[in-house]
Amino acid sequence: MKHRSLSDRAFWGAGTILVVAYALVPIGWIVSLSLKPTANVADHKFLPSGATFANYRTIFKDPQFPAALRNSLGIALIATVLAVALAMFAAYAIVRLDFPGKTAVLSGALAIAMFPQVAIIGPLFNMWRSLHLFDTWPGLIIPYMTFTLPLAIWTLSAFFREIPWDLDKAARVDGATPFQAFRRVIAPLAAPGVFTSAILVFIFAWNDFLFATSLTSTNRARTVPAAIAFFTGASQFDFPTGQIAAASVVVTVPIILMVLIFQRRIVAGLTSGAVKG
């Protein structure tokens, strides 16, 4: 560790505090709002003067929020498993095998990562309604899987490049087929990368709003972001501020925990391959 002067430390310390505050102010605010009793919602204060869990009780008593939570978890998890599985095969092939068209796969994936998703919601809606996929789990899993594949392929390729491939070669010399080599040697080595891309894919699927509003309409497949945006108030003209805040907190806490526990991996995933070829 290099020697640093006191002022230097103070400077970077202040920077750290600023960054933490930056990240946490909106979170603190939404927690505070969710705890405010109805009469205090409009008190213009950052901190609640009293705390009540009434909003939390309300959202869990109503069928829509628990259903949305179930849908979000299920859809995001399945999409994650599928996307990572498909991406694993593709990334292995790209890193390890020589075949024409692999650059096309990579750049195609990149193009899809930048694809304006709104451009296909109309056609997708029309296709889904004739395929009876509208307002179903697969109806969301398919687009989520598609739009996270590029992320997963690129992240995994970056991780796979780090793997000591001599092990693979050794296995193949020992008589293993390329597929066996993949399954026995490379897959376990690749686990950290797989796990990292799974986290990133999950965050994407958990976050999506556009597909969720366009391709679902009831508790059957509606996920949390869409459910929150269309939350039902007590009466036709009533806006459920407190309940939206409470629901937001419920879906934010697991993400924050995940981010805190896996921060090293997420950073590695987001920056891996960003500089390497």
């Binding site: 309604r129 080595l189 686990a191 950290p192 269309f230 039902t232 036709q236």
Partner: protein
């Protein structure tokens, strides 16, 4: 990344757990059924007090096992409800047996073939004794497509401590409010200026009060007579630029109006009846000074015409249980259930005679007295005013393109402070002409 052995079981466990969690969650997407009794799905927003699900229960009970009504919840605002429903209907969803429809959707839904026409005998049964103009909201091309469920119009609310005689016209109201402002008293007027359906309600009411209509009687062409349209627009402009306008007017919906009223800064408010029980609960001092009057008019010589709001109940065209659905809709829109909607959720009936029923006139709701102790107030002290208003109230334009027409109106007139009555008559005509052709971005 060298420690292969330690990573391996870890990765397996993670993937395994992920798959397991996914599988665990899977059964949740299967639909439920209850042995033998056909289920009628009723797409309806739940109302405060649970009156919708209570009605579903009551009708299920009275069906004696012929059907069972399951209420499927919808979002709060009607724009969002429509969005959800049309997507399902366009997808030919057979699970929609019954749906609560805002009075403005009838033409669009009927024309697209999404809802079922009511046979004459059944139509007779569900329209008998109801306000003729409310029944008209459920008709398209002279056929009934829905059973009227509840009705509503806006009233003028004012503070008796600030206003001695309620104004008859908008101009009078704005002048009174501006006078109050000069005296340093609460003076704001709460009205809906957000770019949403409520803005169409405001415009339609003003236009009708000035003697105009948006569309020709057959609903295929623009009417918008120059004189009345300009008058209506001039009122909107004056209102929006007055000191009496709320600073948040251009984002104000009904509930923002209520909040603005309950802070005590307002002298007038144009709004629905839900503001009364709310004020009685949140600001009892203020509620004591709250009075109501008919919707303000435009020209002193011409009575005001409020706009009809409310819901009708339709039968989905792709339903596989239409006959049972008709039965269920008839039950849900019966007098008993209308009284339930009124008593529990403050939704006013559409059957004329119910306005004399003690269950409406004597209904009470929870409130708070000046000392903060729980008490009861009458739910509908203003019922008579609504009954009179509903009898003369007007419908918003009836056309399969209603949604586009509504967008054209709100897009052209929002923000209301920038309205230019001379130029905007033409802009409005152009926008609506385009909307009626299904052309153009909105």
């Amino acid at each position: 990344m060298t420690d292969v052995r330690r990573r391996r079981p870890h990765a397996r466990r993670v993937v395994g757990a992920t798959v397991a969690a996914g599988l665990l969650a899977l059964p949740a997407c299967g639909g439920g059924s209850s042995g033998g009794v056909p289920t009628i799905n009723w797409y309806a927003k739940e109302e405060a007090g649970g009156s919708m699900s209570d009605a579903a229960k009551a009708c299920t009970a009275s069906a004696h096992g012929r059907y069972r009504i399951k209420q499927v919840p919808l979002p709060t605002t009607t724009d969002e409800q429509r969005e959800q429903l049309v997507r399902r209907l366009a997808a030919k969803d057979s699970s929609i047996d019954l749906l609560n429809m805002d009075v403005i959707w009838t033409a669009e839904f009927a024309n697209a073939g999404w809802i079922t026409r009511w046979p004459t005998a059944r139509a007779e049964q569900v329209t008998k004794g109801k306000f003729p103009n409310v029944v008209d909201s459920a008709r398209f091309k002279n056929q009934l497509y829905a059973a009227p469920l509840n009705g509503n119009t806006q009233l003028l609310w004012y503070r008796s401590d600030l206003v001695t005689t309620p104004p008859k016209t908008w101009d009078e109201m704005i002048s009174q409010a501006e006078q109050l402002a000069r005296e340093g008293k609460p003076h704001r007027i709460q009205v809906q200026g957000q770019r949403f359906e409520g803005l169409v309600v405001w415009f339609t009411s003003l236009l009708a009060s000035a003697g105009g209509t948006v569309l020709s009687p057959d609903g295929t062409k623009v009417a918008l007579p120059a004189g009345p349209t300009r008058r209506a627009l001039a009122v909107m402009r004056r209102m929006s630029r007055s000191v009496a306008a709320d600073p948040g007017l251009s984002t104000s919906q009904e509930d923002q109006g209520r909040q603005g009223w309950e802070t005590g800064e307002s002298a007038f408010m144009v709004n629905y009846g839900f503001v009364w029980p709310s004020a009685s609960k949140n600001n009892p001092e203020l509620a004591k000074k709250m009075r109501w009057a008919p919707y303000p008019t435009v020209d002193p010589g011409r009575p005001s015409k409020a706009t009809i709001g409310g819901f009708n109940i339709g039968v989905g065209a792709y339903s596989k249980k239409r006959e049972l659905a008709f039965d269920a809709a008839t039950c849900l829109s019966s007098k008993e259930n209308q009284l339930g909607f009124a008593a529990k959720s403050g939704l006013l009936p559409v059957t004329t005679s119910l306005y004399d029923d003690p269950k409406v006139t004597e209904a009470t709701s929870d409130a708070v007295d000046a000392a903060g102790k729980p008490t009861q107030v009458k739910s509908f002290p203003y019922a008579k005013a609504i009954r009179e208003a509903l009898a003369t109230a007007v419908l918003r334009p009836k056309t399969p393109y209603y949604n586009d027409v509504s967008l054209a109106i709100t897009r052209t007139l929002h923000p209301t402070r920038d309205i230019n009555p001379d130029k905007d008559v033409k802009r409005l005509r152009d926008a609506i002409t385009k909307a009626l052709k299904g052309e153009g971005l909105l």
